[in-house]
């Protein structure tokens, strides 16, 4: 009986390890290719440790493609702005829907829920025309303003504030703090876990977004990394060493963020899944 159990366990570990290897190999392969020179790439040998280890690819992509740092900046700037705005505005909206009394509250809540169901392809074409008439095509604001709130996270913040202890706000009110003061000084600092979870997902969503920048941005100086990367691939079609180096540069920031905030990630996923 005991022996059978260990055999079962070994089998389960087998599954876990095999799948971990399957998960990691593409990344290791990309990483190793990014340190190989072109001869080795073309030769098509499958060695994970480069025969001639070189940093040259990273140098080349930053020197030859002078827009590469610019794309990095654009991505960081847009994703950070979108994240900060989302954190503030989604929380404010969620708080109003959870705590404040005003006419039309139910209707607005229903609209927020309804918007969740609409696939973005439906609103994408009108969005393009609206941004065009605002003169916001090919601009930072065209990327940032339409995505500065997110219905999913308004809903999530509302659920969070509904369960938030009322006593704190009542005490703050007795101390003569206004609703706005209470929200920014008392409530928001206590909502950190929920804020962190939404921040990570909003940042990732914006950072990785492909379709919106593809449609809205047309001048290469304004490209974000996914679009830049795609253009780059078009230019250096068989220079896989460069393409992989560029891909690695692009992946690193997200991995860093993840290592710092991994517990909020899991929380965030369980939140969106646990409803």
């Amino acid at each position: 009986m005991k022996k059978k159990l260990t055999v079962g366990k070994a089998f389960l570990y087998g599954i876990l390890i095999v799948y971990a290897v399957i998960t990691v190999i593409p990344f290791l392969w990309a990483l190793s290719s990014s340190f190989k020179n072109l001869d080795e790439i073309v030769s098509g040998t499958i060695n994970f440790i480069p025969k001639q280890f070189t940093f040259n690819n990273y140098k080349v992509i930053f020197v030859q493609q002078e827009l590469f740092p610019r794309w990095l900046f654009n991505s960081v700037f847009i994703a950070t702005s979108v994240t900060l705005l989302n954190m503030i505005f989604n929380s404010m909206a969620g708080y109003a829907l959870a705590r404040l009394q005003f006419p039309g509250k139910r209707t607005i809540f229903v609209i927020v829920l309804a918007v969740l169901m609409i696939p973005m392809q439906v609103t994408m074409i009108p969005n393009y025309l609206i941004l065009k008439s605002l003169g916001w095509l090919n601009s930072y604001q065209g990327m940032i303003i339409p995505t500065m709130i997110n219905a999913t996270f308004i809903f999530m913040m509302r659920q969070f504030f509904v369960n938030f202890p009322k006593e704190l706000e009542e005490a703050a009110e007795l101390d003569g703090l206004s609703k706005i003061g209470t929200f920014f000084r008392i409530v928001l600092p206590l909502a950190k876990p929920a804020l962190a979870a939404q921040a990570i997902f909003v940042f990732m969503g914006s950072w990785n977004d492909f379709m919106r920048p593809l449609i809205i941005l047309s001048s290469p100086e304004l490209f974000t990394l996914p679009i830049g990367l795609n253009t780059f691939k078009g230019q250096y079609i068989s220079y896989w060493n460069y393409i992989m180096a560029a891909s690695m540069v692009f992946t690193l920031p997200i991995l860093l963020i993840y290592t710092f905030f991994s517990r909020y990630f899991i929380k965030g996923v369980s939140f969106s899944g646990g409803k």
Binding site: L12, I15, L16, Y19, A20, T23, V24, P26, F27, A30, S33, G44, I46, L85, I88, F89, M92, A93, A96, L100, Q101, F102, I111, V115, M117, I118, P119, Q121, V122, T123, M124, I125, P126, N127, L129, I130, I145, I149, A151, I154, I180, F183, F210, L214, I215, L225, P226, N230, K233, M244, S247, T251, I254, Y258, S262, F265, I266, S270, G273, G274
Partner: protein
């Protein structure tokens, strides 16, 4: 007294609207407004050259969908993609989660590793896989090494869509695994103990306790999977450099909508009609799924 109460109510309403202002602005201008605008567009022929012009064509855009061969191909490709990817990724996610949850050491380590693809952008993942799918790339070399046939993954019309499927199952299953993991931790231990008393083995416990208990979550995962897979775009676009090729084999509905809206001239209204058709298809698929799983208490 009554006056001050009224004043307070008014003030609270003002504050409510103030708090909602940014959200309402975006909701109205970029989400709800565009839905009505899209309805309008779908009944018009839109010309973007010079000043934008709209000619009313009634249901012509919708009728045209039925005569459009590429729309048919795109729908078939998308349907094939959904029908294969959703069950595979759901099953894989469930198996991985249940395995991880079986009191294994290093659970945290595996969880972090498995989550890597979820973090990485679709653009990067697609490029990495294109490099591996290369004619003399890693995957063909490995297949050759173990004596299996090799394929022209990217340029063979028979294969290209399957190459994208494999990549996306690999990259989305871990996300759903985390959702399953959270749910697994909520299954009461007593159910397993009862099953054990009845003499159930590990596999029976999985089939008769775990799977039924996870049903609401499975329904959620499948719906999210349906919505996500029907909207396949990034990977197809990068794989085929925007064309949906080779020979339309990676053309998806969303890629087709993109092409009609932003690449071809004068077909923006038709693209809007296609987008609505897609929204309806997604809605119907979701409803069928719900009916199927008979799980109304989920939300």
């Amino acid at each position: 007294m009554k006056n001050s109460l009224l004043k307070r109510t008014v003030r609270e309403s003002m504050q409510g609207y103030l708090f909602l202002m940014p959200a309402l602005f975006v909701l109205v201008v970029f989400l709800v407004g565009p839905i009505f605008y899209a309805i309008f567009l779908s009944f018009h022929k839109v010309q973007l050259l010079g000043t934008t012009s709209f000619d009313f064509v009634a249901f012509k855009n919708y009728i045209n969908i039925f005569d459009d061969l590429r729309a048919k191909i795109a729908l078939l490709n998308t349907a094939k993609y959904v029908l294969i990817v959703v069950p595979c990724q759901t099953l894989l996610a469930l198996v991985l989660a249940a395995t991880l949850n079986a009191g294994m050491k290093g659970e945290k380590f595996f969880r972090i590793v498995y989550f890597l693809p979820t973090l990485t952008s679709s653009a990067v993942l697609t490029l990495i896989f294109m490099w591996m799918y290369n004619q003399n790339g890693l995957i063909n070399k490995v297949l050759d090494f173990v004596g299996l046939p090799t394929y022209n993954w990217i340029n063979d019309p028979e294969i290209a869509l399957y190459a994208i499927m494999a990549m996306n199952i690999w990259s989305t299953a871990p996300f759903f695994m985390v959702i399953y993991l959270a749910a697994l931790q909520n299954i009461p231990e007593s159910l397993y103990e009862a099953a054990e008393l009845d003499g159930a083995n590990a596999i029976q416990k999985f089939l008769y306790v775990t799977v039924p208990q996870l049903r609401p979550v499975t329904s959620f995962v499948v719906i999210m999977g349906l919505v996500g897979t029907f909207q396949l775009f990034d990977q197809s676009y990068i794989f085929s450099a925007g064309s949906g090729g080779p020979n339309n084999s990676t053309l998806t509905v969303v890629l087709l909508i993109y092409q009609y809206a932003f690449k071809n001239m004068g077909t923006m209204g038709y693209a809007a009609a296609l987008a609505f058709a897609l929204a309806v298809i997604i809605l119907i698929a979701t409803l069928i799924q719900r009916k199927f799983s008979k799980e109304e208490s989920l939300y």
